[in-house]
């Protein structure tokens, strides 16, 4: 590990230790924050109940669906927009303003339309995640160096071969970074939606525990969600790095 890595680890461990100490000594009231050790023990207890498994399944399946639609759909749409100048001109103002809109303001509307359940969550998360993929795909295809396309023509590649052998690999770094964002945004969309208004899912469980003043359970679940999502994001990140490392990117 690098020097910065060691310092970071020490810092995080120290922060957790300090929090533990502050909670134990009563410097921080248990009505505010529970001690990290208690978060962990409660988490273990919570995970042993099967009801949490159900919530976890709901959340993860919604995320998985939203993520798949966002990645595949975003890639296809990005590709088509890049290919057809007219469509691109028509849509690019939408795309430029897209992430300025606070999407969650439309969540109540989605609930009215689709009812309480997984569908509005999936729609919200997909809408949130897909455009990142569209933008990344377009940016990647835009930046394919022209001389590589000329090289493809010199080798007399067919259109399909040119796309598969030259355009996509050349655009891959951008596309992968869009994929990484789409994964993170799908999690954010689903869990935030569950949190605001939902009948199941991990986000809902956290909100429920908060409403019932069940702090230990709430903190345990927060720890759990942040842990899972960070692990997942790190896995995608590591995968992306492995894909790109040899290019020296």
């Amino acid at each position: 590990m690098s020097k910065a890595g060691w310092i970071r680890t020490l810092l995080l461990v120290g922060a957790v230790g300090a929090l533990e100490l502050a909670c134990r000594t009563g410097a921080i009231a248990p009505t505010m924050v529970t001690a990290p050790s208690k978060m962990v023990t409660t988490l273990i207890k919570t995970l042993q109940s099967d009801e949490i498994g159900m919530h976890l399944r709901h959340t993860l399946s919604a995320v998985a669906i939203a993520m798949s639609i966002a990645i595949v759909g975003g890639f296809v749409i990005g590709f088509v927009l890049n290919w057809v100048p007219f469509l691109r001109r028509a849509f690019s103002p939408f795309l430029a303003a897209y992430y300025a809109i606070p999407h969650f303001a439309f969540y109540p509307l989605l609930i009215v339309i689709f009812g309480l359940g997984p569908v509005p969550l999936i729609v919200l998360a997909t809408l949130f995640a897909m455009v990142a993929m569209i933008l990344a795909t377009m940016a990647g295809l835009d930046r394919v160096p022209r001389v590589l396309l000329k090289t493809a023509r010199i080798h007399r590649l067919s259109l399909i071969e040119e796309i598969w052998r030259v355009r996509l690999p050349a655009a891959a770094p951008h596309i992968l970074s869009g994929l990484k964002l789409a994964v993170a945004y799908s999690f954010i969309g689903v869990i935030a939606g569950e949190f605001i208004l939902s009948t199941s899912g991990i986000g809902h469980e956290i909100a429920f525990a908060y409403d019932n003043f069940d702090n230990p359970r709430m903190y345990a679940l927060i720890l759990f969600v942040l842990g899972i999502v960070t692990l997942f994001n790190m896995a995608v990140f590591a995968w992306e790095r492995r894909m790109l490392r040899r290019r020296g990117a």
Binding site: S2, K3, A4, I7, R8, L11, L12, T31, M32, V33, A90, P93, F94, A96, A97, Y99, A100, I101, P102, H103, F104, A105, F106, Y107, P108, L109, I111, V112, I113, D142, R143, P145, R146, V147, L181, A184, F187, I188, I191, A192, F195, I196, L197, G203, I206, A207, A209, Y210, D211, N215, M218, Y219, L221, I222, V225, L226, V229, T230, N233, M234
Partner: protein, 259 residues
């Protein structure tokens, strides 16, 4: 090319966007019906009427105040932290992965913690909005400061500039475009965070109105408020984007080939 044509072209895109959005809305209405999506015209009329009502204004003020305070913290604090992290290499390396990780987790899960720390009400919303907005500002500022070309600083020394002059004539112009891009994204995310905060456990503000409208199944109000927020967000973003482009005008064009 005449000036008239230029302004026409500058306005063409936004107008087209607005028209097509309203058209899309109308189509959705035709498909889904009044109980799910109300038509544009009556909704906008409802919005207009709502804005005129006295009981609406306190909510608007609450949200605006929360947003502005959060924005001030996100921008001011973000630039400050970013400059420190960018200027001191090791600190930046320690902090960056934490910031990136924090950027991509669902921060809503931290909201209960903020509520417990700050209590229900304005401070919690401000803190939550600022939490969303500050990260991109820090990351962009850090990178801007980090990537200042060392040769510029050497050139400054060669021209015998004082540190203050170096700061003002070299560092600020060199980093401003990147920092501003961060501020623009910070603006959007602060708005998102503030709204998110209001949707949960809130007793005042536009988010609160949205949630009460759900209970009443009042689609017209839901849409009105969502549209109001979106118009504000898009207009502000367009203005910021224009400034952003202006600041980036001297930057090297996108490279299409490799060095």
């Amino acid at each position: 090319m005449s000036g008239g044509m230029l302004t026409l072209r500058a306005w063409r895109d936004p107008i087209l966007v607005a028209i097509s959005l309203v058209a899309l809305w109308q189509v959705l209405h035709e498909i889904a019906g009044d109980s799910a999506v109300t038509a544009p015209a009556p909704t906008l009329a409802h919005l207009w009427e709502m804005i005129g009502q006295a009981r609406f204004l306190p909510h608007l003020r609450e949200t605006s105040l929360a947003f502005l305070q959060a924005l001030a913290i996100a921008c001011g604090g973000g630039v400050l932290i970013g400059v420190v992290l960018g200027g001191h290499k090791l600190t930046g390396e320690v902090a960056e992965p934490i910031l990136v990780a924090l950027y991509s987790v669902p921060k809503i899960t931290l909201y209960p913690v903020i509520l417990l720390l700050f209590g229900l009400g304005m401070p919690a919303k401000v803190a939550f909005g600022a939490l969303h907005g500050i990260i991109p500002v820090v990351l962009f500022t850090m990178n801007a400061v980090r990537n200042v070309n060392r040769t510029y600083l050497r050139a400054g020394r060669a021209m015998r500039l004082t540190p203050a002059q170096t700061g003002w004539y070299v560092l600020v112009p060199a980093t401003l475009p990147e920092i501003f891009s961060g501020l623009r994204i910070g603006f959007s995310l602060t708005l998102l965070g503030t709204m998110l905060g209001e949707l949960f456990a809130s007793q005042r503000g536009l988010g609160f109105l949205l949630m009460t409208a759900i209970d009443l199944h009042d689609v017209k109000t839901i849409l009105s408020i969502a549209v109001l927020i979106s118009i504000f967000a898009i207009a502000a973003n367009a203005a910021l984007l224009a400034i952003d482009k202006h600041l980036h005008r001297g930057a090297a064009p996108e490279v299409s080939g490799k060095p």
